[in-house]
Symmetry: C2
Subunit: 478 residues, 2 copies
């Protein structure tokens, strides 16, 4: 008889969303705490999701001419300090190397919190002519920010990311790059992660330290809190001037190039958990799922079942899918629960009766929908079902976003909507940081972004009543 292995239980998201989240991180074996406070280990299953994300993004970056490099992980303090806003923004979170071997270092070295300074330092030595522009660089690495409170994927002292850094001849080109990369992120969220986003610009208060403008893709999680997905920054020539990066222009004169940077991190895995997960565990969009299809033999001790299941696996693998068959002696109930916990998008079941009928059964992870499929239509139907999973995930997340975005015309109204319904509250805004602080203080919400797609909700700022300049989204953010 099949060994009865206990199915792991997780907290219901309606009972305790934070605990539900942590339970998934641990029980789906994505992540484990390390013995260094605030640091995490990406376990094989979690890292495999990250590898899939990396591969897809890296391909997109390369298609638009970007190349990868590796910069040193340590930055001399004097170099970090050359641009005042950046260092002020990051100094409280920097980890410092002060000893090499048994020697005290003459100058302490920062573990990179971000690498604008290193890229500028390098460019100041290798850039000569406008002919070498644009320089479209990216690197995949980990960074450290010494956060006080941490949560797996969302906020940890070390995290894994990509940071793009580019240099351009003109401001217009750099602005176009900033926008292109914002759209690249938006596409990745919507088409790959199945998470709809609001594209917008950050307020001066919320922008990246040292940037002239920061653009963001903002997402809504199932608890209706906001999550900043990825950001794209335009720097003008501010860093070029601070780090003395110059080139000989078409006019034969020395000029300062214009710069961008853009980043996305392992926090995207957290976004996927909270955008699609349910009380049975993780739900993964097929493009990033380490296992896209799990094949489970039913009554596998009966003659022919294992062979039939293995044949299905082989066919689906040959069709280019990531497939696993589980023929362990665990019970069927345990196996179903296990692969639901791990968010495998599609389950294929085949037993003696199916074999007789020349069919198998497909079960979608996201909505439990079952489809009986004739064996000779297997590959095509599995592909279709995976597309339906992807579509279903996006539509559900889009519904959540649309239904929980509310307009308000005063702080009181915004506050009441947030407390009663939750989600994004949109208002008009005068552009004054004082009003932003007031919204935070009185309604507990930070500004998320000024959406690129603007609407006119009224004429006056919801916070102070003065003439409004822009529509803005507010929310409670991760």
């Amino acid at each position: 008889m099949a060994k009865e292995k206990k199915v792991e239980q997780i907290t219901d998201m309606e009972v305790d969303f934070a605990q539900w989240y942590t339970d998934i991180c641990r029980k789906a074996e994505l992540v484990e705490y390390a013995s260094v406070k605030g640091f995490t280990i990406l376990r094989p299953y979690g890292y495999a999701i990250w590898e899939n994300m990396q591969r897809i993004m890296d391909e997109a970056f390369k298609k638009t001419g970007h190349v990868n490099v590796a910069m040193p992980v340590l930055i001399p303090e004097s170099l970090l300090k050359k641009e005042g806003e950046l260092v002020n923004g990051f100094a409280p979170e920097v980890a410092w190397v002060t000893m090499g071997g048994s020697e005290e270092l003459e100058e302490r070295l920062a573990f990179r919190p971000t690498s604008e300074t290193m890229f500028c330092d390098h460019w100041s030595r290798v850039l000569h002519s406008y002919r070498e522009l644009p320089m479209l660089y990216n690197q995949w690495c980990s960074v450290i920010r010494w956060e006080k409170t941490t949560r797996p994927f969302l906020r940890s002292r070390e995290f894994w990311w990509q940071e793009g850094h580019t240099l351009h001849e003109t401001a217009e080109e750099a602005q176009a790059e900033t926008e292109q990369q914002l759209n690249c992120y938006a596409d990745f969220f919507e088409k790959v992660l199945a998470i709809p986003v609001v594209r917008g610009r950050k307020t001066d208060k919320e922008k990246f330290a040292g940037a002239e403008a920061t653009y963001t893709v903002e997402c809504m999680m199932k608890d209706r809190k906001a999550l900043q997905g990825a950001t794209s920054h335009y720097f003008g020539d501010k860093f070029s001037r601070a780090y003395d990066v110059t080139f000989t222009g078409r006019d034969n004169k020395l000029q300062y190039p214009f710069q961008t940077s853009w980043g996305s991190t392992t926090r995207m895995i957290g976004a996927v958990i909270m955008a699609h997960g349910d009380n049975n565990g993780l739900v993964l969009p097929p493009p990033i799922a380490p296992i896209q299809v799990i094949v489970l033999p039913v009554a596998q001790h009966k003659p022919g079942v294992l062979d039939a299941a293995a044949a299905l696996r082989d066919r689906l693998e040959a069709a280019g899918l990531r497939v696993k068959m589980d023929d362990s002696d665990n019970s069927m109930g345990w196996k179903c629960a296990q692969y639901e916990m791990k968010g495998v998008p599609l389950r294929v079941e085949i037993g003696p009766r199916d074999i007789e009928a020349g069919q198998c059964v497909l079960v979608r992870r996201n909505d439990g929908e079952k489809t009986v499929v004739a064996l000779d239509e297997l590959e095509q139907t599995v592909q279709e079902q995976l597309e339906l999973v992807q579509q279903g995930l996006f539509e559900k997340a889009k519904k959540n976003l649309d239904e929980h975005t509310y307009a308000a015309s005063s702080i009181e109204e915004a506050k009441a909507l947030q407390e009663e319904k939750g989600g994004f509250i949109k208002t008009m805004w005068c552009g004054d940081v004082a009003c932003e602080l007031k919204m935070k203080e009185q309604a507990g919400m930070s500004s998320r972004c000024m959406p690129l797609r603007q609407e006119t909700l009224g004429e006056t700022c919801a916070c102070c009543g003065r003439p409004a300049k822009t529509m803005i989204y507010w929310g409670i953010a991760y």
Copy 2:
């Protein structure tokens, strides 16, 4: 008229091998010095080589069941110190983080010099049963070792690598893994990098700190110095015991698992430079070349030439090759020199006369051999020529290795051979470290390895005359 851009000159290797090496690193734009002493920047072309190496190795690792993970970069001092030999081996080279933000840390944290300790710490918390074994983990990351003197790729304070770490139920399985991974490295060197290797075991003096046995693939560079290519270590259950990693065995009792680790680094790029490079620059084996074929239009201002060249490029790209066409206004001489410097394995030239004759010209980087090919046989001939480049590189390197491996029966003879000829000197050895030290002191050579393929050169140790236990290779190493 074509702009005459100056062709960069490099030092001849016969004049100054070290300077020749550094010149290639810089002029082929592989690497640049960073503003942090002893640290380097992998530039796009250098990093693209590393990406190709990574992709091929990662695939090989995954084929044998290995999975990737990410461990924290910082290791608490107390954790690092649990295994005495390891910490003694690495302590002098560790970079220490002592501050997080503005706070002094209670315990200082080591920037990983290697991650056995982190893997063991993790396993001590997640491993329970023999059913979960083997655990076959790998990670791609950078490590820091605070070296006194540094050289690009060969020895730098930060370098990029993969470190495999595996846990097994039995000693036999762990030993088999150690051997399998050694062979995986040997295959990578010989089949991908076209560098022949000597597989062998390190002496106790030269083995990895804390290992029971270290295996190595040793290569010979063009200056006949030795380079340790990659290493594979067997740990027995020593670390399991030190870090309290246990599992419930088949006998229902607690047991200590057996462990291996194995690593290879960006130093392999240095090996490629010194095994294949020449006085015109880098020579890259096709499997790792960022550009495998460079297409150069001849007399490109003439009608039809650019279109014909672009058509060749498109056809070769469609055939799955990494191809670039250079239609810049630099001179033909400059372009040829430039792509030779960058080590592009094959050059395709097409001009008006070729078009008329329905042909193009292929030129191999490694030996300058020209082949005229009919356009309708392009893809096949290019593939054949690339295979000939790969073969030619391996054969030349193999000849260098074979012709500069000498047998000696005394320290004096070994010393004279090294001074007159250079290369590997093989002798019999008694196994005593005192003899190893004597060889170093008197002949300036370190032991490279005890080859797995043994020969009997005599009965007695070349250093002391006592009965010999093994044949050993000596050399001057990078």
